[in-house]
């Protein structure tokens, strides 16, 4: 298959980062049509579906250097590079993917996708249901992490990848990585699970439920059929995202970044109203608003549910080690010490189960400034661990 990477970029690029030596440059998304039927955990099935993907780097002749990137709650297939020379921001994990970066496109053929149920072009609530001719909306089936792995395995078949050199993901992406190792043990050599957890805790589910209720109780939600009536549950989706952002940062990080600083550089007096006053309020409103502009509420509901349902130990008598018993991949588990959404203790549960299951695993806890969000940051200690591990993966390919 053709790679989406194009080396030629306009000479007078307004954004110098586009032509940086360690950037994958301008990338073009591809729509991959998967025509095999997909049975879903909920009992329904999809006769065919489309996955949007981007690829970076070159697939080798042995087709052995492919790396799959699994995205988190709000991610998509645009993991690295730029879509246009004047793009303000690169893909969501550009800090880690590129020539000479930890996920080195000089060595690896990197595949990123928008998961089934997403809202960036892959089959999901915003795409057309062929049976009705209208957008799926709330009728799109609730998919699970296992469904995603099935769908990603069909994608791998389609693009001719029998075995991934590595499957990598952070947060909800890390859950997909674990599921890959459990469900398709022979199809990946290395599993990199970053800032993740073996299952959502009651607290995680509680936060997700508030996010969902914020969306569902928005008068513009219209039981999920908001698009049909030309509405958008913006207030609910914005609230959901604001709540999410609180969990992505640690208390210390919020204090350091915003403190109690008042906006606007006024005279420091309180305004005694409910307008934006503290910097942190401004930050959350901005994050919430910009999310509304790029994300779909039904997809958000579905993604949070996928997190809540993920629990590979459940079918093995709540024994995670038993779930990992058939896994063959070597694991790297990375946690961030300021992360309270998926804390290091949760990663350690994964590690402990892998030790009991006698799997190869390494575990690093990164001294982190932000919290959960750090898995997207180019922290030197984090990148050294990622780079060191993946260098060995590349060496194995060359051997």
């Amino acid at each position: 298959m053709s790679t989406a990477v194009e080396s030629s970029t306009p000479a007078s690029s307004p954004n110098a980062a586009v032509t940086a030596a360690d950037s994958v440059g301008i990338v073009v998304p591809l729509a991959i049509e998967i025509s095999q039927p997909l049975m879903l955990d909920c009992g329904r099935s999809l006769p065919q579906h489309i996955l949007m993907i981007e690829t970076y780097g070159t697939l080798n002749a042995a087709r052995s250097n492919a790396v799959l990137i699994c995205h988190a709650l709000s991610g998509d297939h645009h993991a690295a590079g730029f879509h246009a020379a004047d793009d303000r921001k690169p893909g969501w994990w550009d800090s880690a993917i590129g020539p000479g970066k930890p996920i080195d496109t000089n060595h690896f053929f990197v595949v990123a996708l928008n998961n089934l149920g997403g809202c960036r072009g892959s089959t999901g609530p915003t795409t057309t249901n062929p049976e009705t001719g209208h957008a799926w909306g709330p009728d799109f089936p609730i998919v699970t992490v296992r469904d995603w792995v099935r769908s990603q395995a069909l994608l791998a078949d389609q693009i001719g990848i029998e075995c991934w050199a590595a499957v990598i993901g952070g947060s909800l992406g890390g859950m997909q990585v674990m599921q890959w190792a459990i469900d398709c043990p022979g199809r990946l050599k290395h599993a990199l699970v970053i800032a993740s957890a073996p299952r959502a805790s009651a607290q995680n589910i509680a936060f997700n439920e508030i996010a969902r209720q914020a969306i569902i109780s928005d008068p513009d939600f219209h039981e999920g059929r908001y698009a049909a009536v030309g509405a958008k549950p913006s207030r609910g989706l914005k609230l959901a995202r604001m709540l999410g952002h609180i969990t992505y940062l640690s208390d210390d990080a919020m204090r350091a970044r915003f403190g109690r600083v008042l906006r606007g550089g006024g005279d420091g007096r309180f305004a005694f109203n409910y307008e934006v006053e503290f910097e942190v309020e401004s930050y959350l409103r901005y994050q919430g608003q910009s999310f509304v502009d790029r994300f779909d509420a039904n997809t958000y509901l579905l993604m949070t549910k996928a997190i809540d349902y993920f629990d590979p130990a459940r079918e093995h008598g709540d024994d995670l080690a038993a779930a990992f018993a058939k896994a063959q991949a070597k694991f790297l588990v990375i946690a961030f010490d300021a992360d309270w959404r998926f804390s290091p203790e949760r990663s350690r549960e994964i590690v402990n189960a892998l030790v009991v299951a006698n799997r190869d695993v390494s575990y690093a806890v990164i001294d982190s400034p932000l919290g959960h969000d750090d898995f997207l940051m180019p922290l030197p200690e984090y990148q050294a661990v990622l780079r060191g591990y993946l260098q060995r993966v590349a060496d194995e390919l060359a051997a």
């Binding site: 390494s362 690093a364 001294d367 060995r392």
Partner: protein, 229 residues
Amino acid sequence: MSECIDNQANERVVERANNRPDNRPNHRVTELRPDLARISDWIAPGARILDLGCGDGVLLAHLARTRQVRGYGLEIDPDNVAACIKAGINVIQADIDEGLADFATGAFDYVVMTHALQALVRPDLVLAEMLRVGREVIVTFPNFGHWRVRLALLRGRMPLTPALPSQWYDTENIHLCTLDDFEALCREFGWAVLERAWLDRRHGTGKLIGLAPNLFCENALYKLRRPNA
């Protein structure tokens, strides 16, 4: 603070070897630290091993290559963790002082700890935990009964020896012991001593050590087994 304490003069040999320009440590080092070589003689091929304070993973790499062991290192220092990961050694970033509660009883054939015992908050508790988690335990420590140490104390000063090169105020070694102290601890807890090796600074065994181990041994290696095991 419970990482492998780099206070052994001859560790520097290995360090030098590790700092070669190609930056590929461990695996290519053919000359293993002599105490580590001796430890590896005590380990049955194919065993499951946990190495506490594994440093950059030199012992595990050697054991994997020569003894086909499977195992994990525990290490607290981020640079050492990164070095292990880069070298393909299974390493788990953790603080030994926080205990081994994450590991099941009898999960390993051997639990090894080289030159970290004296830096632990409660060496006795950690040893007991090691003996719970492992069928056998291999532990090494510097002998505080060595004549150089005693001479320094006789002169009224804390010892500065090749085995103990740090000043009293900045040393990480907070629970030093002599051979006799360690033997007494083993007797008290009923731990069986399966093997002991008393070595000098160069990890050799001299006649003098045999005559008066607690005076002449600088580095002690012990292999223990828990009671009823």
